[in-house]
């Protein structure tokens, strides 16, 4: 089933490491570089990227 409530946050890509706790975080200041980093992580980890706003992207396995 694709429609589900369960999801695991695999890692985060952020502009400020202080915004993330308890999960692996990649700190990238530049917006375009953050997108690229998130894209690579998404393809490698087979997870979907979600934008929480405020410079925080998370990679989630659904």
């Amino acid at each position: 089933m694709e429609v589900t409530f369960s999801g695991i946050i695999l890692c985060a890509v952020t502009d400020d490491g202080a915004k993330i706790q308890a999960i692996p975080a990649f700190v990238v200041r530049d917006e375009a570089a953050r997108q690229e980093k998130a894209r690579l992580l998404s393809r490698i980890l087979k997870g979907a990227v979600h934008d929480l706003g405020d410079g925080v992207l998370i990679v989630v396995r659904h």
Binding site: M1, V3, V49, G53
Partner: protein, 290 residues
């Protein structure tokens, strides 16, 4: 007096019924040759059971009748056979059928064998009582009657389906005004806007609203749509997974997918023809009887 004619005609009509019911439709199941072979073989057995049981009853051969009842029990296995084989394939599907759809298909396959038995028995009975012509008439009537009973209702009878525009508000993907999901990658957002299509499903009745609420029903819609239109997705791009999301205040459902064949009208057609699954059907119409 021999019963050759009635058994022969019953067998023939039963096998014919199985062949007609074996036609593959747009859902493409089963189209593989081995599927045909095994179902034809079982169909012959079912037809034989139906055809021989009537002369056995007439001759008061109770042992034979009991034996055929035992054989008929075997056809219950068909359902688990189909269920197991479809379930085994689920893991490797990009868009799964879902448990409800599998159960529905398995149930249809089981029911078809009982129809074959009924047709064969009716034809044999007609032949015994009034000759070959009556046998054919009764067989055809039994087939038409039972086929209309198991006919599945398509979705368009209770749900209006319209093509809809995809748009983004920030990272949020919307089909018309229905929120589908949050897409974080700019690249994926561009791909979705460029290649994606959407549809809105508007239930015409309360029952249809509850049918659309069922996850299995929505998964069946997505599976059929992905099967016919193709899908631009692989295991490492989960954001292109087709989705059917519910708009809770109205019960409408927004469908989103990134197909190989970008044809919104075809998507609407496929959704309209998706069967309403028995297990997903809404039951709010029974509220009145409470």
């Amino acid at each position: 007096m021999g019963h050759g004619r009635s058994i022969g005609l019953g067998l023939l009509m039963g096998v014919l019924a199985r062949i007609i019911l074996l036609r593959s439709d747009y859902r493409q199941y089963p189209t593989y040759p081995h599927g045909y072979a095994s179902h034809l073989f079982l169909g012959i057995i079912a037809a034989l059971v139906g055809a021989v049981s009537v002369p056995a009853l007439i001759e008061r051969e109770w042992t034979a009748v009991t034996f055929f009842v035992v054989v008929a029990q075997q056809f219950r296995e068909i359902r688990s056979m189909e269920r197991d084989s479809l379930k085994a394939l689920e893991e490797t599907q990009l868009v799964a059928r879902g448990a409800d759809y599998i159960e529905s298909i398995a149930r249809v396959f089981e029911a078809r064998y009982y129809i074959v038995i009924l047709v064969a028995a009716s034809a044999a009975y007609g032949t015994e009582r009034g000759g070959v012509l009556l046998g054919i008439v009764l067989g055809v009537l039994a087939f038409a009657g039972s086929a209309s009973v198991i006919k599945q209702e398509p979705l368009w009878m209770s749900v209006e389906v319209k093509p809809a525009k995809l748009s983004f508000k920030g990272a949020g993907l919307y089909v018309d005004d229905i929120f589908i999901m949050n897409v974080g990658l700019e690249e994926s957002r561009q791909t979705i806007v460029r290649y994606g299509i959407g549809a809105i499903l508007i239930p015409k009745t309360e029952t249809a609203r509850d049918t659309l609420a069922n996850l299995g029903q929505r998964q069946a819609i997505l599976h059929d749509a992905a099967g016919i239109l193709g899908i631009k997705k692989d295991v490492d791009t989960p954001e292109y997974t087709p989705m059917a999301t519910r708009h809770i205040p109205t019960g409408r459902v927004g469908v989103f997918m990134v197909p190989e064949e970008r044809d919104p009208q075809l998507l609407v057609q496929v959704i309209r023809r998706t069967p309403v699954l028995e297990s997903a059907r809404g039951r709010s119409m029974y509220r009145r009887s409470m």
